[in-house]
Each structure stands twice: as structure tokens, then as C-alpha cells.
């Protein structure tokens, strides 16, 4: 991919990973990019690096602009290996005057690369350094999404280099939001928020408020993954909406099944939800990756879980999904459960317990069916779906 000038004398020099499909368990069917940026000024600054196996791409792109040894500062906005993996080799070649990072950044870089001798320069939150005609203000963004995370803001160019925030796993030859399909872009941005940031939503709200109060002028946001936002208003508004976990007129029936009994129940529950005028999606865990499902959870108001009992417990795919969803801490959801069983029948109780722990509003004790549902039991499932639909409408009307 070509080097791209994103602002005067500021260049994208990152790498495009067309092939990655599993990003530590997050499905990346559209690949991703590792964005790094080079600012040419009296002090030349490299913002972040790339995943280890792309270091040659990064060096090649830097060399089309300057000799890498002419880089003075390397800014590490985020220590995670997809942005820092090339750092040891790049530091050897560049021999930077400063490696600029947050306080936690320094700690985490040492814990990763075990190099106490690097020329760390720890910046305080809000600190500004001059690079010549431009300057960089550092905004600490702890836990968005690691303790070391920070943003770099270049006021002269109204450019916010935002680390992982506002990113998307989306491999493209285009670099800007006005060059790609907007629906595809917003889906990837939502999926990223859902799988990486949902649990830090209170911090996202605080950060957005802080940015507003600081009154900083931003006309471009350049994240470390995916497309660069020339229209930052759109993604800032989306982050505000997503961080409030308000949900919409939408319910999910997420289930696994052994011999289709729970699947029959899932279909009946979905019919009931639809009958109440609420949009519904049936998500069989055998066919939908957990990270795709989390993208749907983001704006759903109700989560209905279905699972048969296996060996006195849940099917492992459902147990794994619950572990994943619980960690991401979605809030403000209506919940209900159902499932078939043969002799012991613990699954519904376990599903309810998991939803209680997530503080979902469980509207029903749930429905258990022995072996195969009869017509009457399926009618009960339809009724359960209707109660879910009514609860969605009530919850939306009240908020």
C-alpha cells in the first residue's frame, strides 16, 4: 500500500493485514490494518509502530519519506503488541532521542521488552511538547483500552491520533471514511466498540465529556486500526450513543441445540417477539461467531438465551459465549431463558444465573422442555416471546 499524506507533512506509514481472520478470538473477516504515522518537522515523530511481522512494510514506507535514523521521537500511544511488536527493531535502527509514553506506558513497555535502558520520556496527562512548527498534546486515556493508552493531539493540524479508540478491523486500500462504503465502515466500528470497549463505556462517556470541555478542535481522527475519520462528528456521536447502552427496538435469541428441540423453542420465542413488532435475530452459536454476536448485542434491548442441558450443565459453546459476554459487561438489557433437557435440566437455571450476574432484567423464570416440545409448549414459547417484546417496548418507553 502507498504512503498517504493525511495532513500537511503527516503521513500514514502503517501496514494492511489482509489475511488475519482471528484476532485473539475476535473474528476479523475483513482483515485489519496497523496504522502508524510519521510527522515531518524540526523533530521528526513516529506515532506507534506495527505488528512484528509487518516491520519491513513500516520501514519501507518510512524510507520513501526519510532515512529512519532521522526520526527523533517515537510516540507509543498503546503498548499492545499489534502496535509495539516492531518497536525493538525500530528502536535499534532509529536510535530515537526520546520514546514518548504515559507513566503506565513506560511500565508496560519494560514489562514487554525488558529494556530499562531505552530513552523513555514519560508525559503527564495534558502535557504539550513542541516539534517545531507543530506541537503534540498528550491526553491520557487509561483503560481505553489498556492502562497505558493515550491519545496524541496535534492542535496546529486539528488532528487526533487516537490509538485503538474509534478504530475498526477493516483492511482496505483506501485510508479515509469518505472513500469507503459507510454501512460497512460503521458496522466494523460498532463491532470493534462492542468487542473491545463495551465494558469501559463509563470511561468513554467521561472522555467524550472531557474532550468537549477542553474545547479542542478536531477535524480528523486517526485511529491505530482501519479507516481515518475526516468526518469525526459521525464516529463521536456513535461512541456517545453506544456508550449509553440504551438499546433499540431489537431482541436477540441466542441459542445452541443438540437435536433441534431448543431450536424449535428458539423459533417460537422469535415468533412471539416479532408479533409484538420488535425486530428479532435468531443467532445459533454453531453458525455465528461470538464477536459477531456481540456486535448485535450492542444495540439490542433484549437477550433471550436458549440452551439444552448437557452433563448437568450448559453446552460448551454457550458457556464460552457467556464467559465472553459477561467480561464485556453489557448493561440495561431485558433477559429470558429457555431450553430442552432429558433428565436433570439445569440449563435454564444456569442461564438465568449468568444473566442475574450481568444485572439483566429477567422478566420470566424461563421455559424447560423434556426432550421434544409439544405444540402447546411451543405456544408457551411464543407467549414468552411476546412478554419479551412487551418488556422491550416498555423499557424503551421509560428511558
Amino acid at each position: 500500500m502507498q504512503v498517504t499524506e493525511i495532513k500537511k507533512d503527516i503521513y500514514w506509514v502503517g501496514a494492511v493485514d489482509w489475511n488475519i481472520r482471528d484476532f485473539h478470538g475476535y473474528s476479523t473477516y475483513k482483515g485489519t490494518t496497523y496504522n502508524a504515522f510519521l510527522m515531518l518537522d524540526e523533530k521528526n515523530v513516529l506515532f506507534d509502530t506495527v505488528k512484528h511481522n509487518y516491520k519491513s512494510d513500516l520501514l519501507h514506507r518510512i524510507r520513501t519519506l526519510i532515512d529512519p535514523e532521522k526520526i527523533d521521537y517515537i510516540v507509543v500511544n498503546h503498548v499492545e503488541m499489534d502496535h509495539s511488536g516492531s518497536l525493538p527493531e525500530i528502536v535499534e535502527i532509529v536510535k530515537p532521542e526520546k520514546i514518548i509514553c504515559s507513566k503506565m506506558g513506560k511500565k508496560n513497555l519494560i514489562d514487554h521488552f525488558h529494556r530499562e535502558d531505552w530513552p523513555y520520556h514519560v508525559v503527564e496527562p495534558g502535557e504539550t511538547i513542541s516539534t517545531g512548527k507543530n506541537s503534540i498534546t498528550f491526553i491520557e486515556t487509561r483503560m481505553l483500552h489498556w492502562p497505558d493508552s493515550m491519545f496524541s493531539y496535534i492542535p496546529e493540524e486539528k488532528l487526533l491520533i487516537s490509538s485503538d479508540a474509534f478504530g475498526q478491523h477493516f483492511a482496505t486500500s483506501e485510508r479515509f471514511d469518505d472513500e469507503v462504503n459507510e454501512t460497512d465502515l460503521m458496522y466494523q466500528a460498532a463491532k470493534y466498540y462492542a468487542n473491545i470497549l463495551t465494558l469501559y463505556s463509563p470511561l468513554v462517556r467521561k472522555l467524550l465529556k472531557q474532550v468537549e470541555e477542553l474545547g479542542i478542535d478536531i477535524d480528523m481522527i486517526a485511529p491505530d486500526h482501519g479507516i481515518i475519520w475526516k468526518n469525526p462528528g459521525k464516529i463521536l456521536q456513535a461512541y456517545s450513543d453506544w456508550s449509553h447502552h440504551k438499546g433499540s427496538n431489537k431482541a436477540l435469541v441466542i441459542y445452541d441445540t443438540m437435536w433441534h428441540s431448543t431450536e424449535m423453542m428458539a423459533n417460537a420465542v422469535a415468533d412471539g417477539i416479532q408479533a409484538e413488532g420488535v425486530s428479532v435475530k435468531l443467532l445459533n452459536l454453531q453458525h455465528n461467531h461470538r464477536s459477531e454476536i456481540m456486535a448485535e448485542v450492542l444495540d439490542a434491548k433484549a437477550i433471550v438465551l436458549g440452551c439444552p442441558t448437557l452433563n448437568n450443565g450448559l453446552l460448551p459453546r454457550m458457556a464460552g459465549f457467556l464467559m465472553y459476554m459477561r467480561g464485556l459487561r453489557p448493561t440495561n438489557k431485558v433477559g429470558a431463558a429457555f431450553g430442552s433437557f432429558g433428565w436433570s435440566g439445569e440449563s435454564v437455571k444456569l442461564l438465568n444465573k449468568a444473566m442475574e450476574e450481568m444485572k439483566f432484567d429477567i422478566i420470566d423464570e424461563g421455559i424447560k422442555v423434556k426432550y421434544v416440545p409439544k405444540h402447546d409448549t411451543l405456544k408457551e414459547c411464543v407467549e414468552l416471546g411476546k412478554r419479551v417484546g412487551k418488556a422491550v417496548k416498555k423499557a424503551l418507553a421509560e428511558q
Binding site: M104, R142, M143, P147, Y200, P202, L203
Partner: protein, 52 residues
């Protein structure tokens, strides 16, 4: 009562507010938090907190 800051994520435990997400009532001092209480933001243990 003293406030405590999480050294990992910067969350501040304010005894006057408690921590409703873990069912900790307002007025609970940091010392009186259960040993298995965790930072509501990042999940760090109690011993990762420093006095403000």
C-alpha cells in the same frame, strides 16, 4: 474517610459514594471493603489501590 485511587486505571474509590456495582453501600471506608472486592473499572485487586 480517605479516598483511594486504582494504580492501574485511575478509578477513585470514594467512601462517601460506596460502589453500587458491587453492592457496597455509601459510607463504607476503604479498609472495610471486603478483601475480594475489585476495581469496578478494570478488575484490579484491592492491594493495587493507593491513598489519594
Amino acid at each position: 474517610m480517605d479516598k483511594y485511587r486504582c494504580s492501574i486505571c485511575g478509578y477513585i474509590y470514594d467512601p462517601e459514594a460506596g460502589d453500587s456495582s458491587s453492592g457496597i453501600p455509601a459510607g463504607t471506608s476503604f479498609d472495610d471493603l471486603p478483601d475480594d472486592w475489585k476495581c469496578p473499572i478494570c478488575g484490579a485487586d484491592k492491594d493495587q489501590f493507593e491513598k489519594e
